[in-house]
Symmetry: C2
Subunit: 288 residues, 2 copies
């Protein structure tokens, strides 16, 4: 692994940097951030488990309803009924596409006022889709200091509420981004979490036909959400210790800098010194 001829030297270097950071973290505890049980949901799919970090800072009402629905067993046995390869996997009871169910509709939580107390680590200014991008607690975010707004951005792995035309019409059905970041959806839908582990499992979800907007017809094979469980509802001893890179830490700042300044020996054409916030890995560590 330390051979200089590694096909992706820059990536390898980064991986080593991350490993070094982990060691540091073990000493001073600054590099990894433990996710509290109140913000974790385990989603059991046929291919394995996806772990979701919920974000009540940006979507308090949506997270509260999602947690209540999870506790009610609402999602258990329901399907990903609309899956567009390279875009989104949408799951739930389909009420979003047909007759509404009886669950309350949710107010839009598309953005929030900027607060200096949020641990915003700047990544790119300007970005093509936002005046500025950065990370807040591992979540990719956009920021506009002129209007003093901040929002979560649509990167792969993000989970958000589907809705109808009205901004306050989401209720139960959600989608997970499984393709190139559809950033044009930013500030138009409520992102309430992200998959921090098990995206490979999510990518196994059965796709719908692209000429039917990904809608899977009744009787056709689809992937079932076997169960969603909140970490809070699992005995403490059985909970997983989920840690993500502390994106406000100094080590992560160094990673951002090294990714921005790529050069020899691997790079023969110097890439522009810009970063796509959705292309920066935020590492996760799972323990017991």
């Amino acid at each position: 692994m330390n051979q200089p001829w590694n096909a992706f030297c820059p990536t390898l270097t980064l991986a080593l940097v991350l490993t070094a950071a982990a060691a540091v973290a073990a000493q001073d505890g600054t590099e990894w951030r433990s996710i509290e049980a109140a913000s974790i949901a385990y989603m059991q799919l046929p291919g394995g488990e996806a772990i979701i970090e919920l974000n009540a800072e940006f979507a308090p009402t949506t997270v509260a309803q999602f947690k209540r629905l999870v506790r009610d067993g609402f999602y258990d046995g329901l399907a990903f009924y609309r899956v567009v390869d390279g875009f989104v996997a949408q799951g739930g009871d389909g009420s979003d596409m047909a007759d509404p169910n009886s669950e309350p509709m949710l107010p839009a939580e598309f953005e929030r006022p900027w607060s200096g107390e949020l641990p915003f680590t700047s990544v790119q200014k300007p970005d093509m889709f936002a005046p500025e991008t950065g990370f807040i607690d591992g979540f990719a975010a956009g920021r506009d200091m002129q209007s003093r707004k901040v929002w979560l951005t649509h990167c792969p792995g993000v989970i958000a509420m589907a809705r109808n035309d009205g901004s306050d019409t989401g209720s139960t059905d959600f989608y997970i981004v499984i393709g190139q970041a559809p950033r044009y959806l930013d500030r138009n839908l409520t992102i309430f979490g992200r998959v921090v582990s098990g995206m490979d499992v999510v990518y196994r979800v059965i796709r719908g036909p692209s000429d039917a907007n990904g809608m899977i017809a009744e009787g056709e094979p689809s992937t079932i959400i076997e169960k969603i469980v909140l970490a809070e509802d699992v005995p403490v001893a059985a909970r997983k210790d989920v840690r993500v890179t502390d994106t406000s830490g100094a080590e992560f700042g160094k990673v951002l800098q090294s990714r921005k300044k790529r050069g020899p020996p691997f790079f023969h054409h110097k890439p522009p010194e810009v970063l796509d916030v959705c292309q920066i890995p935020v590492a996760t560590r799972i323990g017991r």
Copy 2:
């Protein structure tokens, strides 16, 4: 499917536009482009088949060697030995990571001179990573009219040759992009094709550990490339008719325009009028 409250109206609309375009195509033949057999490879993986379009326009030497290796059965039975979730799945004999094999090294085919004869459909100018992006025969591309260069860009589904530090050190092992577009690799590696069908199959490839740069240790489970076959080597009657959206057609131009100008009733916050070239679907139709 025609309900106005569809959770992703704009996408739905696009799907309908594409469907309409298909109908047009059946009449005047302008909207779909048939891929010639000489540019098609079928990759058999445990989860199914991925169809690759090779691009000899941009990477003639690499495509020639890849086709020869495929005919030699070089890849059959080899593994995806380095798989980084959200980044790349790299396959081959591992020679790229260890002792080189005896296959010839390939000259860099990272970019080519701009030629007015290329059917370039402009998408975004400027783009964060290139002075301009666009499509050439369904492939996302970057263009710099100042240096008069054009290149294929690293979007999801792209297949490119891995290499060591030297620009001319690729030979056999390739990677497929399975995550958010790593655009910083543009003009530094030889993209020689793209998966036009079966990305869901590619996404099933077993990942390596993220703290080992995705390298799968010997003895650990990995996904095997069962077989790669060139369409040319299959009897004409057994070949698939693979068509992709004609990205130089008028209908595709309209799709680009509609994606750039999003608004009510679905969009409450108007997205910036920019397009990420890697986020624009190019549809594929498979027949017999």
